[in-house]
């Protein structure tokens, strides 16, 4: 059993784990452990993981930095994230630890906290206890349980009610290590009533070892809150990223979440939204550009629990060479959630003969006065468009680039930070041309 070594590890090092975390984090471990022992890592057996065997990633010797041995890295030097254009407040996680030597203390609006999960759990115990592990659900997901067992730190953004953070925040996750490593990262986003914030999260790999990253993102969008979360993955081919995003939305809250998989190894992203207050609105998007043997699996679950909510999903894949894309989009409209509007689109380009796309829309609707739709296409580049462009003197390779970049446009358009959108367009263009700096540099900032 693959899980056994992790069960043993947890039991053996429990004291070390606790010692290098805070009581707030520690008190969640026992229940998570019980859950993990029952569930284990998902294999390809359960329907939701049919095309992504998560357990396989753990079937190897992985180190865990449970004693919080400092990783020698100065992220400012390593990544030159001077942010010349992208005007953001920058934060770093080195593996799963908060980097606590920021160059300058960002001047955030009064009452706003952005920083270490450990610090937050001690400084704001009441808020921490109200939200940490209250949104994620490890009772039915082995990865969430595993992450909760081992999580020792992470990043928190807390925006109290009626507060607007104008300048976007940027979290840069850096994977760094001399041996194959398992990293268990937590992100907690609490946005109070009428509050607003935008967060960009970038994933980077520095070292050429295997990284297996679990990430649990919990988002609480209180009444009329507005949250934008953009994730950009630029990991190495040796990285496995298993991300679980859980979001609870209250009345009239609006959440936009978009994940761009620009370069990766093996990726599984879950987007689990619960629309719990009326007139809540969710926009969730994903874009994967892949080649070689890259694997990207996006799983979206939109739960319309109450009436009058809106959800909009747009997931796109451009698959080249021997890469694989997986999309499952589940929409649940619960009984009584009348006047729900739920729209889902999934469009995929298989540019090569060896690329594979597995796509599945799942709509479960138990209310009778709703508007729901889904559209799914998987195909190749439009030959008529290709001919048209070439007939104007644009060489075939260039014409293909133009069409592939164009295909990604509507996902990028979901991003509501102008300068980031432009940066993404530029990076996507570079990615298709094969001259993206794969890792070791923060492409967003440079």
């Amino acid at each position: 059993m693959i899980e056994q070594q992790y069960i043993d590890l947890f039991e053996t090092y429990r004291e070390e784990i606790d010692k290098n975390a805070t009581p707030g984090l520690n008190k969640e471990r026992d229940a998570a452990f019980e859950s993990f022992k029952k569930l284990g890592f998902p294999t390809s057996e359960p329907e939701d993981y049919k095309h992504s065997d998560i357990s396989r990633a753990f079937d190897t010797e992985l180190g865990l930095n449970l004693r919080n041995i400092p990783i020698p890295v100065n992220p400012y030097d390593a990544f030159k994230c001077d942010v010349p254009n992208l005007n953001t407040h920058v934060f770093f996680l080195i593996n799963d630890r908060y980097y606590d030597k920021p160059r300058s203390n960002p001047s955030l609006p009064e009452g706003v906290f952005a920083g270490s999960l450990q610090t937050f759990s001690e400084k704001y115990p009441r808020v921490f206890n109200a939200y940490y592990n209250k949104i994620a659900d490890y009772s039915n997901n082995g990865v969430a349980a595993y992450n909760t067992m081992f999580a020792q730190d992470g990043f928190v953004v807390y925006v109290p009610e009626n507060t607007v953070v104008e300048k976007p925040l940027q979290l840069i996750n850096i994977l760094r290590g001399g041996v194959d490593l398992n990293v268990n990262r937590r992100i907690l986003l609490i946005v109070g009533k009428n509050a607003r914030v935008k967060l960009l999260v970038c994933d980077h790999t520095v070292d050429d070892v295997h990284f297996v990253v679990t990430q649990v993102i919990e988002i609480a969008a209180e009444e009329n809150a507005q949250i934008d979360l953009y994730e950009l993955e630029e990991n190495s081919e040796k990285a496995t990223r298993i991300s679980l995003l859980y979001c609870n939305q209250q009345e009239r809250s609006k959440v936009t979440a978009a994940g761009i998989t620009l370069h990766n190894g093996y990726t599984r992203n879950d987007y689990r939204f619960k629309l719990l207050g009326e007139y809540a609105e969710t926009h969730v998007g994903g874009l994967a550009i892949s080649d070689k043997k890259q694997h990207t699996d996006n799983f979206a679950f939109l739960d319309h629990a109450v009436p009058h909510c809106t959800s909009n999903e747009l997931f796109k894949y451009v698959l080249q060479e021997k890469s694989t894309g997986v999309f499952c989009g589940r929409i649940l409209v619960e009984k009584g959630a009348q006047k729900s509007r739920a729209y889902q689109s999934n469009h995929n380009l298989c540019v090569s003969d060896d690329a594979h796309m597995y796509a599945k829309p799942q709509l479960e609707i138990y209310a009778d006065d709703v508007k729901c739709s889904h559209g799914l296409t998987t195909g190749q580049l439009d030959v008529d468009a290709l001919f048209y462009l070439r007939a104007r003197g644009i060489p075939e390779e260039e014409a293909r680039m133009l069409l592939m970049v164009a295909f990604t446009k509507d996902v990028v358009d979901m991003v509501r930070i102008d300068i980031l959108r432009e940066r993404l367009e530029y990076l996507i263009d570079k990615r298709f041309r094969g001259d993206l700096l794969r890792c070791g540099n923060c492409n967003v900032c440079k």
């Binding site: 439009d382 001919f387 462009l389 007939a391 104007r392 003197g393 133009l402």
Partner: protein, 254 residues
């Protein structure tokens, strides 16, 4: 004047079915030719073959363009050598803006000639001049290529692209279809402004109407993959009056 285009005994098939059955056509610099003919006679096929549509197979014959073997050229090279097809059905390309599309096309033409890319300000000026020449809304060029354009806007956009690329040979495949009379006049006047002694135009049309504005030097009638009659502009008027019937009957009894 020298021949810009020389087509000899051109046979073209698609999926094993022969569509063009021996076309001979010479177009000199400075000339305007009209090709007319009933539906299904092969007019659009001829246009697409000249542009380099890979769906068609040339089984016999030759095409010289400006002294070069056109059939050996990739389709993008044909465009850069100066062949321009105004499509009968322009393609919508969501996500590719007209500006990016035209910048790429103009720069590829320049690169082919060994010239530097066009400067941003020159490019914008070029866009504005040509757009104004065709009375196009500035909004149109900011949109994605042909996306959501009306039939008339699409045809205008074709001539706009022609104006941007300044080809040696423009082939207008039913550019008049879908145009109201005002748009037709604007499009025709655009074509006339672009026409010089150094370039040539082939107008493919069903109707005399367009030829009132773009006056051809030569009119050909294409039927069943062959040119069955070539004459001066009076032929178009005659066809408008009498239809193709009598010509076709003569051709069939040959």
């Amino acid at each position: 004047m020298e021949n810009l285009l020389e087509i000899k005994n051109l046979h073209v098939s698609v999926e094993g079915k022969e569509i063009l059955k021996g076309i001979d056509l010479e177009v000199k610099k400075g000339e305007i030719h009209a090709i007319m003919g009933p539906n299904g006679s092969g007019k659009s096929t001829l246009a697409l073959v000249l542009a380099g549509d890979p769906r068609f197979e040339v089984t016999k014959g030759s095409i010289l363009f400006d002294g070069k073997n056109l059939l050996e050229m990739k389709l993008e090279d044909r465009a850069r050598e100066g062949v321009f097809l105004s499509f009968q059905y322009p393609v919508e390309i969501p996500g590719v803006s007209m500006v990016n599309f035209m910048r790429a096309a103009v720069n590829e033409h320049r690169k082919y000639k060994g010239e530097e890319p066009i400067s941003a300000s020159d490019f914008l000026k070029l866009m504005r001049d040509k757009r104004e020449m065709l009375g196009m809304d500035s909004q149109l060029v900011n949109r994605s290529v042909n996306e959501g354009f009306s039939g008339g806007e699409k045809k205008k956009n074709e001539i706009f692209q022609m104006a941007m690329l300044n080809p040696k040979l423009a082939i207008l495949d039913e550019t008049d279809s879908g145009l109201d009379i005002d748009a037709l006049r604007i499009v025709a006047s655009g074509v006339n402004k672009l026409h010089t002694d150094d370039n040539a135009v082939i107008v493919i049309t069903h109707y005399q109407r367009l030829l009132d504005y773009i006056k051809p030097d030569v009119v050909h009638v294409l039927y069943d993959g062959r040119i069955i009659k070539t004459a001066g502009p009076e032929l178009a008027l005659e066809l408008e009056e009498k239809g193709y019937e009598s010509l076709i009957n003569t051709a069939n009894t040959k």
